[in-house]
């Protein structure tokens, strides 16, 4: 046992049993795994990665290169960073991690977003002083420290401040910080990344699972301290060789004697401090070896040898037994190396600040800042406690923009002399290690220099020095120092390798947080989603939407189900949930002129009540989107877009409206989530329509009726994407499921996107994103008929006469028939002529299906230099399919089917009942059950909502410069767009509500800043958040409601 009988910051009254490599040991609260292993006499913690040499604990912090362990489900951790806990089971490693696939991991990682005026990274003397100076001026301060308690290096030292133990000063500082309501202290929290615009990421270690903090600071104070470095000499890796600062930490902080008889290698004066503290703990100091000619004034430890260490000796197990200084051999089981200090400039460097080499300090220190940041204390080379505190106060005051006169305590430390300008001998010995974790030696660096490498970046990649999990924290400066000696340069001329995030290893599970499984990405569902689930639909993802792909009956595969659904649509009546199509309400005097410029065809001449199919292009003339747009009134249109492109199209329209044509009076409002849409298709579609929307029964093709649907105001469009008689019936979102169930009860067969694709392909209708890929013009699709020759301009018009788009030999849309009527055509298959040698790739299959109507397989393709009748081969992988090129219309080319059948005689269908159901209805019980004293969640009753654009309505939530959301009962104003179904309102209330929101909302929600409302993202879903005291109303798009409800319940379940 090497545990000291008293002293240190451990609680000896509590014993924590743990296992290392199956061996029972114990420690105490306050221990790390490393200190408990040392206390238990474990000297070999693991073996090195390449050479398999025994290695022991080398440091007492995140810089540890040697003592790597697996702990439970964590495949590799540094034992010096693992807080000891009851029952912990750790296993030694050979330099790299091992995953235990059977490990049970019940931790749940989370994340959070915080904002502050001043972020202080590091809670040592400088960081504490900075936080105090900033916090006491009223600034919002976040103070991070990676240890379980504040104090930094003072936890490991016996320094006295103002005549009292330094920890008294720390305790007083903590009390002062605790009294400041705007100061948040996060211990066990490591800042791992420093990104643009003062955005930092930190990992908080919690028993329940780590938390990844996303921090945005107005100003940053880096008080990250310094890492001691080793020196390369033969046998410098033996268990028993340790950083002097670590040896000091083990005796002072952990009450552990890391050896009985020590040699201290003091290239910097911290070695003398360590020697003094080791001696005070009963360790025999065999000698202090100092390359510098004179010992510091007033040091009480005897036995200083001026010289350098030239080697070590070991026993049969590789444990240190002695130290060589030239011819002299001193017995020792501990060699404490004070090779000098490396200021921890990692975060500074990540912030894009340049480090510079300081000759006096023999260290890389921060140069000019690149962001609103400054370093304080040891991380810029101010190693004395008093100097660090003074610098910290100044940095904190500067960051908070205050003056201040701070009481800097006096310290009993002796003034530090400059460290030795010494980087070790250029020993060819194979055990003079520079990077312990990567087993890189001086000889390896010499080989790199010998091959002509001059850049430390090249040397790093050649030797792997600095690429271990410790990222070379103790070795980085050493590589520069040794390379400088090898090349006859200075370390400053060589510089350092780039410091990249993360500062310390971070688990993927921590980065993922709660964004996993069902919550990995926002999911949009329609009002009918519950019905689709109940019916056993197979879904496909279209953007963030879940769309039913097909509805299998008992035992059906996709092919059978789709053939059956297609037959129903061609011979009877079938229905599809078309709610996901983008819907954009377009109003204003110039709405028609606006659409004329956007679409390739004309809209200003469209009759009120008429629908028209349109194609829009980007400026390069390529097809961007398509859909049907209807003129609802003189100055009022409704545009539909493809499902996947809805947001992009609305953004596109806004771009042209705002940036190019601000003179046009046109207003754009998304109503995608306000309306639920059912497409009813098939020759018997009227039988169903007669019951659900009798007012629309007489609609002509491509006409619209605003009419009652299920007794509520709805919209019916007679448009067809299948060639059959078809209607798109719209009701407010809450009635969507009722409409869907009603339509199916009336005999319509539900069909999904796969059947929709087959039906349209039989008619030769292209799908944007399937037949097109951003390189296809309307003309390429054979749709010159939709490109206006009369209009002076439309977006993309000029590009349609560019040489490349107007040339012959472009790929064009063609149809394909397989020779074998059962042979499938794979999308993406290449088309070629077997007779051509070498074969040219003529194009590719864009769609391939089996058709119930045609009784065979068929496809669409984009291909050049082909004509109907050509015989081609479609090649996909090793499969070849013989095909014949045909015109891309396979079914009803005369459009004879589109009028369907009249209502069947004798049909007496009663209208199904319209029943409103909120998208959050299914969650009401879950919300109630998840509530607690601290936070409650509920859905607010549905209230009419309108979006208002243009003039200020004098009420509602202002969402943009000329955009409002009015939520109330009562009459609407002129020109308001009803969006009552578009959003659902959830209320999160109580003192804990804010803590839930910050786990998913990047906005600064601090009560002093966030007083009204904001449109932003919550859990990556678009929302409006409105604050009312400690209650937050969350207006979420109806399609995101179920996803957000699940996310909130997941958050409340923690």
């Amino acid at each position: 046992m090497t545990r000291l009988p008293s002293g240190g910051l451990i609680d000896r009254s509590v014993t924590l049993p743990f296992h290392f490599d199956g061996r029972p040991l114990h420690g105490h609260p306050g221990d790390t795994l490393a200190s408990a292993l040392l206390a238990g006499g474990v000297r070999v913690v693991g073996h090195s990665v390449d050479l398999g040499r025994p290695r022991g604990v080398f440091s007492a912090g995140a810089e540890e290169p040697n003592a790597l362990v697996r702990v439970g489900a964590d495949p590799m951790l540094a034992a010096t960073t693992v807080e000891l806990r009851d029952g912990l089971r750790a296993w030694s490693l050979r330099g790299k991690g091992r995953v235990d696939p059977d490990a049970v991991d019940e931790r749940r990682a989370d994340k959070g977003y915080l904002h502050c005026d001043v972020l202080v990274a590091g809670g040592g003397p400088a960081g504490l002083a900075a936080a105090l100076a900033a916090g006491e001026s009223g600034a919002r301060v976040i103070l991070l420290d990676d240890q379980p308690r504040l104090g930094g290096d003072l936890l490991s030292s016996r320094v006295r401040l103002d005549g009292a133990p330094a920890l008294d000063w720390v305790a007083a500082a903590e009390r002062r910080l605790a009294a400041l309501p705007e100061v948040r202290v996060l211990v066990r929290t490591t800042a791992i990344g420093y990104y643009d615009h003062n955005y930092l990421v930190a990992v908080e270690r919690r028993a329940a699972g780590e938390r990844l903090w996303h921090l945005r600071a107005r100003r940053v104070v880096l008080a990250t301290g310094a890492h001691e470095r080793s020196l390369p000499f033969p046998g410098n890796d033996r268990p028993g060789v340790m950083l002097a600062s670590a040896a000091r930490a083990y005796v002072n902080r952990y009450g552990v004697r890391p050896g009985g008889r020590a040699v201290v290698y003091a290239c910097a004066d911290s070695g003398y401090e360590a020697a003094r503290d080791l001696e005070a703990a009963g360790v025999v100091i065999a000698a202090i070896v100092d390359p510098r000619p004179q010992a510091p004034a007033g040091h009480a430890v005897t036995g200083t040898i001026t010289g350098t260490i030239t080697g070590t000796t070991s026993d049969a197990d590789g444990l240190l037994t002695g130290v060589r200084i030239g011819d002299q051999h001193l017995e020792a089981d501990l060699l404490a190396v004070a090779g000098g200090w490396n200021p921890a400039v990692h975060l500074f460097s990540q912030s894009q600040g340049r480090v510079v080499f300081d000759d006096a300090l023999q260290a890389f220190v921060p140069g000019a800042s690149a962001q609103a940041e400054r370093s304080a204390g040891a991380c810029r080379g101010l190693y004395g406690t008093r100097e660090a505190i003074e610098d910290g106060y100044a940095a904190g005051a500067e960051a908070a923009g205050r003056d201040g006169d701070f009481a800097v305590p006096s310290s009993d430390e002796t003034a530090l002399r400059p460290p030795a300008a010494y980087w070790g001998e250029l020993s060819p010995d194979a055990t003079a290690f520079v990077d312990l974790q990567r087993d890189v030696t001086v000889a390896d660096l010499a080989r790199a220099a010998g091959t002509g490498m001059r850049s430390v970046e090249h040397v790093k990649r050649f030797t792997t020095a600095g690429t271990g999990a410790d990222q070379g924290k103790t070795s980085g400066a050493l590589v520069a120092g040794v390379m400088a000696e090898l090349l006859g340069a200075t370390p400053g001329q060589l510089g350092t390798t780039t410091f990249r995030p993360p500062y310390a290893p971070v688990a993927f599970g921590t980065l993922a947080g709660r964004d996993r499984g069902e919550l990995s990405d926002p999911v949009r569902t329609t009002a009918m989603h519950g019905a689709h689930l109940a019916r056993g639909a197979v879904f496909e993802d279209v953007g963030q939407w879940k769309r039913p792909r097909y509805f299998p009956l008992d035992g059906e595969g996709m092919r059978e189900a789709v053939l059956r659904e297609c037959r129903a649509a061609r011979t009877g009546v079938a229905a599809m949930d078309a709610s996901t199509l983008g819907k954009i309400d377009i109003r204003g005097r110039d709405a028609g002129a606006f659409l004329d410029r956007i679409y390739t065809n004309m809209y200003s001449t469209l009759a009120v009540g008429a629908c028209r199919y349109g194609l829009m292009c980007t400026a390069d003339g390529m097809v961007f989107d398509d859909g049907t747009t209807t003129r609802l009134g003189e100055d009022h249109y409704l545009m539909t877009t493809t499902t996947g492109n809805a947001a992009a199209v609305l953004d596109w329209l806004e771009e042209w409206r705002q940036t190019e044509w601000p003179e046009l009076d046109v207003r754009l409002t998304s109503v995608t989530d306000h309306w639920a849409t059912v497409a009813i298709a098939g020759p018997r579609a009227r039988d169903v329509l007669a019951a659900v929307a009798p007012g629309a029964l007489d609609l002509a093709f491509m006409r619209y009726a605003g009419t009652e649907v299920l007794g509520v105001p709805g919209r019916v469009f007679r448009i067809s994407f299948s060639g059959e008689l078809a209607y798109e019936v719209n009701v407010p979102w809450h009635y969507g499921r009722s409409l869907w169930e009603g339509v199916l009860d009336l005999g319509a067969v539900p069909y999904g996107t796969e059947t929709m694709h087959v039906l349209r392909a039989e008619k030769g209708f292209a799908i944007v994103g399937q037949e097109t890929d951003g390189t296809v013009t309307p003309q390429d699709l054979g749709m010159s008929w939709i490109v206006s020759k009369r209009k002076p301009d439309y977006v993309g018009k000029r590009s349609h006469s560019r040489p490349d788009t107007a040339r012959d030999g472009r790929k064009r849309l063609v149809g394909l028939l397989t020779d074998d009527p059962d042979a499938g055509l794979a999308e993406g298959a290449q088309l070629l002529r077997e007779s051509e040698v070498p074969a040219r790739m003529l194009g590719h299959v864009t769609s391939g299906y089996a058709s119930a109507t045609l009784g065979r397989t068929f496809g669409l393709a984009m291909a050049r230099d082909v004509a109907p009748g050509d015989r081609l081969t479609a090649v996909s992988g090793t499969a070849t399919v013989a095909v014949t090129v045909v015109e891309p219309v396979f079914y009803d080319p005369e459009n004879a089917r589109r009028d369907g059948e009249p209502v069947a005689a004798g049909i007496v269908s009663t209208a199904p009942e319209g029943r409103a159901e909120s998208p959050a209805a299914a969650f009401a019980a879950g919300f109630a059950a998840a509530g607690s004293q601290s936070v409650r969640l509920r859905e607010l009753p549905a209230t009419p909502m309108w979006e208002v654009r243009g003039a200020d309505p004098g009420e509602g939530l202002r969402l943009g410069p000329d955009w409002w959301l009015v939520v109330r009962d009562g009459p609407a104003g002129e020109g308001w767009v009803e969006v009552s179904g578009q959003r659902t309102v959830l209320e999160l209330a109580g003192p804990g509500a804010l803590d839930v929101l910050i786990t998913g909302c990047p906005l600064d929600l601090h009560p002093s800043v966030f007083t009204g409302h904001a449109q932003t993202l919550l859990a990556k879903a678009p929302v409006i958040i409105e604050r009312d005291g400690d209650a937050y109303r969350i207006y979420v798009r109806s399609s995101y409601t179920a996803y957000l409800a699940e996310w909130l319940l997941d958050a409340l379940g923690r």
């Binding site: 990104y195 643009d196 615009h197 003062n198 955005y199 996303h214 945005r216 894009q352 690149a370 400026a619 390069d620 947001a647 953004d651 806004e654 771009e655 705002q658 940036t659 190019e660 601000p662 002076p792 301009d793 018009k797 000029r798 590009s799 560019r802 040489p803 969402l959 943009g960 410069p961 955009w963 990047p1002 906005l1003 904001a1014 449109q1015 932003t1016 993202l1017 678009p1022």
Partner: protein
């Protein structure tokens, strides 16, 4: 993660925005009168400086306003004030 100062909403994280490329590229008055080369210049050619760059951003998840800022392409510093495009 850049912090972009929206003229209406104030500072917001970059992922609330959509990038709009170089600012100040106006749609030509009479595209039909441009040569193929001139039109290709409008459609395809953009500056790519190392240094200050005036570019457009769209606050897609906020107020849905297009605006322009000057950003340094090396340091990512954003100069204020931002300019409204309208």
């Amino acid at each position: 993660m850049l912090l972009i100062d929206c003229p209406h909403c104030g500072p917001r994280d970059e992922n609330e925005f959509r990038y709009g490329g170089q600012a100040g590229i106006a749609y030509p008055d009479a595209p039909g009168e441009l040569s193929d080369g001139e039109w290709a210049g409008y459609v395809f050619m953009r500056d790519n400086p190392k240094g200050w760059f005036t570019e457009r951003w769209f606050h897609a998840h906020g107020c849905r306003t297009w605006f322009a800022v000057e950003r340094h392409t090396v340091t990512h510093e954003i100069r204020t004030p931002v300019q409204e495009i309208r």
